[in-house]
Symmetry: D2
Subunit: 387 residues, 4 copies
């Protein structure tokens, strides 16, 4: 399993470290260095701007490969790629307000995603953080952000908050904070990441205490609530598609391990034949393969549609959220089926499948949730829910 | 619901007749005449050859619309379109042996599909019918074909049989029989179509008694068994994709009826609010919509891949058969969920949903079966089953 | 398939007639005569009162057998048995207000169920029919009842309506109407039963026009709304359990037909072996068998708990409604899987499985619905839904 | 959550320790001492023999409670209870060969289960361990046993091996080894238990090197292969039912935690209402509750049938293995749904649900597997698979 952007040697090195990072609850420093060296963080930056020129579809394939090697590494790097992809979407739709992400990524900046907040299920549609205007077009942000992957390493943290004081308030303000805000004690990164899986992502809690983004780092200021703003569409589309890719990559790896186990394990009941000859095992693997393949086709189709600027109208949002939901759900089922094929050995702590079983569960916690995906589709098919 | 090729008026007329054809167990004569008049049977013939120039992807959309109006009409016409699509696939891959189907369809010929045989689960990989060489490059076919849709109307019947007598035997021989073979009593069409659903398709049993295809109607002669011959690939790809489209169209119609019912029915329990405000009903419809939407994306992706000659290697066959399986399965589930939303009224004989519930079941009987789809995927993931 | 109360000959005769009744949309007159002659309508009346003395658990088994022979006959007779079972429940809990049903059934009366009303999802908790006091303890009922199985044959119709005029109004009033009310034109039975399945049940619409129940036919007068009244518990428990039995019996029959088909059909792909040797077919049948067996255990357990007066507290209602839901859902899945095993032949109109496929769908329309079963369980686990 | 045999204080103490045992990968010494002190290990010994007199049904309830407090403790203690229950089954069927387990358990012996062997999917039907006759009616056992729960604490290890040398060989020999065999170096317990979950069970690998069971510790000597011997039936029945109970108890606990979380968590999207008011959350919890409740009814029914010596004929084996399969499957689904309700907090290492998610997975590795449960049912419905 390799691809154009991540060679087999690099993936092998990354895979080799994954167990250790997980066990020690360490950030994937060495992986990150290797990925930076390989130019992977600029792979989706247009070639004209010094990047790799990969399409979003290309990127989804690379992220599936990377997730197959090290889920937490792929998940954390995903957040950087989301910002780059958003900037591409915005740029392709004729606006330049996010272009600095493209040039920044080409220049070596590492972007993190500071959007999620504790107990805030409005997600992109309304922040509980405060965005206080500095009077010169910049903002000071205060609040708590959770699940900040890449915490130890980001150089630019994308955040949003609510401007409640300007004459046209409320507005949702999106901006990038510099790493210097950490040294200046206006951004505190807690050392609180101790989870069942995805441990190397070190998606710690981030406290903002009047963290400052000057005017040239404020990229967007829009009304709260559902919106067709290109930034909102871009975040939504790229986040869902790339997240779907990461979890699909995890499941593809699990299925590979299952197929290997089936070809290795034998059955006394079946006179020593391998499990690859057992009809029930074949069926289980085929069923997992078919489901996974179906998700793969959907990722490819929707990524291509973003690349080609296809118009799905009001179906875009339910389609994207359903993709993420289906992908993470299928991934969980495929990992479980793979564990079943591999048998009791897969239950041992050192077995890769036992780690994948822990990692894959995180898929359900990222937005969009199963319920919001269904609500979005119901809204299109039946109109809004009367309150 | 309409599209480029089938206007709303035509679809409305066709929908209006569907219940009567079903009740009387009649063939859809008037529909067929209208479709011929609208040029629909040549819609997938290249424009250069006098056809409509629709891509396979375009055709899947039109067939979904048509199936939403009249499932049995769409299913039967599908068989004609499969042959045209096969001819396109073969032509696009640089061979001209099936070109006569393109010119024939442009000239008004109606093609039917005489492949299925009673109790023969080898399908395309080996016929139980006899193909006896006439010594001049033609063949005389003997055997029984089942599920011959369009029985009352075809002008060319595509058949295959096994040549067991030539020096290089066995060979699978594919050829087209002329309607004159019926008048000549070498082809007998039984009047035996009385089924739960898809009644208007009149997919009767066809008996071949040394039915003659002269040399210029024999299009292919290949080894039995799995094969990458462009004819086999073409039949497989076009049959599965177009069949998936028909059943998806049925389910889309059911979901539309369900949504309409939800907006009309009220609940005393909920103080007279419509069911469109009931969270359980919204969820049921959203779930159906999400599943259907996922299948739709897969149909579009694979149809486009056929149009663009994408290379899926050994995954082509499992992908195509899985698509057909998933589409017919999802269609059945969506129709059932739609019936549930519509309530007891949908159980009445005259209700469109009670007909769709009968029609949609047929999806499981067409090849590829659920089991062969899984066997194909297992073969790719685990290698062939040792015998 | 037979049991203590219904011999194999009787069941065979009933099975033989089922196709004809279905095709002609006729009521099951001859079946009913045979069942009456066999004492089957008094089978659940205590022996001391001249009945068969069968327990509710015994009755569920007999109804499964009967449903396996003729679903519509079993479904319609079920309604009579529900009333008898309710009377047993009430009697066993120390009240005699429903005893007349026991003596009536022993004396040859045939009871029907006039509860369901169009668009009324409150079900037992509030009638849209009017119950007007006659000043002597009796009532005159006006309103519309739907799905009145046994319409051509009942001698006593159990109804309920709302007394909105008495000083202590509103009250739900339960009473039995005599067949004479039909001749007196105060009860009209429409000839409007033309459905997808369960056709022989002739569950027609019944119009009440001040239909009179004298005081001695009024059995209960209670507050509308959820209630632990023994009548409400009895109707709920017996209706759900017996309905679950009918649909389980349908599915058991389907599975038997599937197993027979598997033992008869052969596969060319598998060198002529029967499908009973095909691992996928074995799995499909086993899976159906396991699901069905699980439902059977639940029917037995809950019927026994009613017989033994076990106390499930507030779990009684969710348990009973979940049983009915699961049973009808599993039945539908098992019939579908059986059709799949039997193959294309099962799609022909004259095949028993094509009838079972139509009959089994009705399960979802009887109360309790899937949604109310879930709402009941949510209420127990999370408390009532805040309004 | 408590019951007759395990008071709330005891369960609370046990629950409190569970996280620590899991984290430190320690055996549940203190729990075991408490349970012994409470008489819990003799609870299923007949009162007449000095035990608690609990029925198997009572025991399933107690084990569900215990598993809800500490899954690994319950799972390990389960193995002891299986032997006691087997002895009860055998005794109740008129044989006394296993009575020593009843008196032993009453006297404080702790029984462990040394049946599973690496790569041996024949399970009870044929051991890969050698049972060498000592000439005096005793045996010397050699081989490897895996998943020996209670490794640090058992005083009697039930094992089986194949006698391949006696004149009537081969025979399966069942016997109990004394703890002294460990000191005598004829039984070695590896320190190799480091798994994803069920960590406190310390189900280590056991190596037998001519471990000696004298004649009075050999309880049974039978032909290998499927068998209706009361010992085989007893092991099968008690193992499956009690295992089902443990995993059901885990899931019941998860659902309780989910319901608590739903009543605590609020939604900004829904104006601060708790998730207990969210229809999707209610449905998710109701669905979990309904599935779990169904399994509970099956456990009760089958345990009662064992207690009452009901005769299920050839359905006994598929019923029992299906129960175990369904219970562990439903448990896994319910835990996953509970995690989903509890949200991201449940993904933290210290959250009880993240431990239950790891523990519950083990259910699929115990016999009977999903596949053998289905094979057993297929065997009954279709006859044996032709070889």
């Amino acid at each position: 399993m390799s691809d154009e952007y991540l060679g087999p040697d690099l993936l092998a090195r990354i895979r080799e470290r994954a167990g250790r990072y997980d066990h020690d609850n360490d950030f994937f420093d060495e992986d990150l260095r290797d990925l930076v060296d390989a130019g992977y963080l600029a792979v989706h930056v247009p070639a004209g701007l010094g990047g790799g020129g990969a399409s979003l579809r290309d990127l989804t394939r690379a992220q599936r490969s990377l997730a197959g090697a090290a889920p937490a590494t792929a998940l954390a790097v995903n957040m950087h790629h989301v910002w780059v992809a958003v900037a591409n979407v915005v740029h392709a739709r004729g606006e330049d307000f996010a272009d600095e992400v493209l040039t920044g990524a080409a220049a070596g900046e590492i972007y993190a995603f500071g959007i999620s907040e504790p107990g805030n299920d409005l997600m992109l549609f309304g922040s509980t953080s405060e965005a206080d205007p500095d009077g010169e077009g910049g903002y000071r942000f205060s609040g708590t952000k959770i699940f900040t992957s890449l915490s130890p390493a980001w150089t630019r943290l994308g955040v949003f908050g609510t401007d409640a004081s300007s004459p046209d308030a409320p507005k949702s303000v999106f901006a990038f904070l510099d790493r210097e805000e950490v040294s200046a004690d206006r951004v505190e990164i807690l050392d609180d990441w101790d989870t069942l899986g995805q441990r190397a992502s070190q998606s710690r809690t981030t406290i903002l205490r009047r963290a400052h983004a000057p005017a040239d780092r404020v990229i967007r200021r829009i009304d709260p609530g559902p919106s067709n703003d290109p930034l909102i569409f871009g975040i939504f589309a790229c986040f869902e598609i790339l997240l779907a890719s990461v979890y699909t990559g995890i499941a593809e790896r699990a299925l590979t391990l299952a197929a290997e186990a089936a070809q290795r394990r034998t059955s006394r009941k079946n006179d020593g034949a391998t499990l690859a000859a057992d009809p029930d095992v074949r069926r289980r693997i085929a069923s997992a393969g078919i489901r996974l393949d179906g998700v793969g086709q959907q990722i490819e189709a929707l990524a291509r549609d973003v690349d080609e600027r296809a118009d799905h109208g009001e179906l875009w949002f339910p389609r994207l959220s359903a993709l993420k939901w289906r992908a993470t759900e299928v991934a969980r089922e495929v990992v479980t089926a793979s564990v079943q094929v591999a048998g009791g050995a897969a239950y041992r702590s050192e077995h890769e499948l036992s780690r994948l079983y822990r990692d894959v569960l995180a898929g359900m916690f990222h937005p969009s949730s199963e319920d919001s995906a269904h609500a979005a589709m119901a809204g299109v098919l039946l109109g809004p829910l009367p309150r």
